[in-house]
Symmetry: C2
Subunit: 296 residues, 2 copies
């Protein structure tokens, strides 16, 4: 665990520098938009998706200097989705990563444009010359990020979430939502990290996909557990919000204890799926374990 | 002019079919989001950007079947920007292309997600295998669309526009805004249409870029003239809105007559820039002339 703690700090520091470099300087016009993009993106977040990208890159032996582009791209898409999700017409939240949300700190129109421009920037970064060893795979990476972000991926999951608010969902419906809302981008993080080194084999892709699927659901199960058990200050975002807004969570379908058992089963499946990577998959395995052991 | 009228109807019909094909069916979940994406995109619009893409493709001899992807991608980015621009926190408009705007017809959260998902879809379409003859140029096309859409392109222009509302701008400041807000995507339409057939020569790219720059500004000059002279029913969007909101327009800096002279000068420059394409550039030339002669 000590090794993983050091590795994750290293990734967090690396991704922070990389994001600071790819985000336009706030002295460049339009200054307010660029300042707001930096405010929303820098200095916070667990950076789980970048960690997944780097760990998947390690599993297949991809050059970390290439994986960095994929790691930035998925984090930029993630931050754009949080910025839009916090807007008054969506979740109307005023706290994120321990700071006022973007539309509170700046204004609603700016936060809208921040999300829009961060999405564009994600594709710009992934289309940079260094992002992959070969151009054909790079086009596939761009296609994958687009699908994962769009109406049959993350944005679609948000729409399902909106439609489900105030309704009771069955487990299958709840998981359909999560597989889109958070699962699609988590899968993209894992696959893009690996693809930076060239197209992985079918067997590698299948293993990584199954790993991502299980880790994504486990992450969401634990989010619901932590959201119900942890205070706002520790979470850095408003605690208990989903339940208060009448959103379906795992805890409306099972007890916290059952949810933890379920998350652990998912993680066991995730570990089995990457078994064939051996030692190269050590950090993928460590991230999976971290997800069920985390406290915030 | 008769030939151009027939050609532009053909392009409009072709792009309508292509957009209807790339947009997810509204029977696919999330149904409401998909219905709203189709509502915002289909059945309206002048389709100037697709026309520019097809005409630029003709100028360099690109296969129209490939150009179609670029034409769809730029139109999807354009529609996403209109959908977000019409939201209450931006221009708060309720009429677009003669219909209620997306957030009026559906709701604000859905309109937000429509824009987000249309942007993703634009990149998804441009990353499809058929979109370019070679993968290296295709990556460059994706990079170009991302830059044109982002904070130093279209989204940045929106931010400048917001900051300028209620202020008097000098001509240089007004043109800085337009070059970003509408010019960047018009340039992308022209360059991407040409690049679908493989990377054009430096001389070709330079000519197309100068053409796009002039056409983009002339389009905006004429938009301001028409906005002041035409009624809402003919425009299909709220007339006189910019002036009412205290936005700087060309008509705050010059008379309508002077603006028409300026637009004609820009078009002359655009025609000179594409002179070397000869007959192959006929439709690019016709679009430039159409822009100063249009009535809505």
């Amino acid at each position: 665990m000590t090794d993983f703690a050091a590795w994750s700090r290293e990734v967090q520091s690396r991704i922070e520098s990389a994001l600071a470099r790819v985000l336009p300087n706030s002295a460049i016009a339009p200054e307010k938009l660029h300042a707001a993009m930096r405010y929303a993106t820098l200095g916070g977040g667990k950076r789980i998706r970048p960690m997944l990208a780097f760990a998947a890159g390690e599993a297949v032996g991809a050059d970390p200097a290439r994986v960095e582009y994929a790691a930035c791209a998925v984090e930029l898409v993630h931050v754009y989705s949080l910025t839009h999700d916090d807007l008054p017409c969506m979740d109307d939240d005023d706290l994120r990563r321990g700071k006022p949300t973007c539309h509170v700190q700046f204004d609603e129109a700016t936060a809208l444009l921040v999300g829009d421009a961060l999405q564009s920037l994600a594709f710009e970064v992934l289309a940079e010359p260094g992002a992959c060893v070969d151009k054909a795979t790079q086009v596939d990476m761009l296609a994958l990020l687009a699908k994962a972000s769009g109406s049959r991926g993350m944005a679609g999951g948000q729409a399902v979430d909106l439609a489900a608010t105030g309704k009771s969902l069955e487990l299958a419906e709840l998981e359909f939502m999560h597989i889109h809302k958070t699962g699609a981008l988590i899968e993209a993080a894992v696959l893009l990290g690996a693809m930076a080194g060239g197209m992985p084999s079918d067997a590698q892709r299948q293993g990584l996909r199954h790993y991502a699927h299980c880790v994504g659901l486990a992450f969401q199960v634990m989010d619901d557990v932590l959201d119900s058990e942890t205070d706002t200050a520790t979470l850095g975002k408003t605690a208990g919000k989903d339940a208060a807004q009448g959103k379906a969570t795992y805890l409306t379908l099972m007890s916290a204890k059952e949810a933890r058992v379920y998350a652990n089963e998912l993680i066991e499946n995730a570990l089995t799926a990457i078994d064939h990577f051996g030692d190269a998959g050590a950090n993928l395995a460590a991230i999976a374990r971290f997800i069920v052991e985390r406290r915030y």
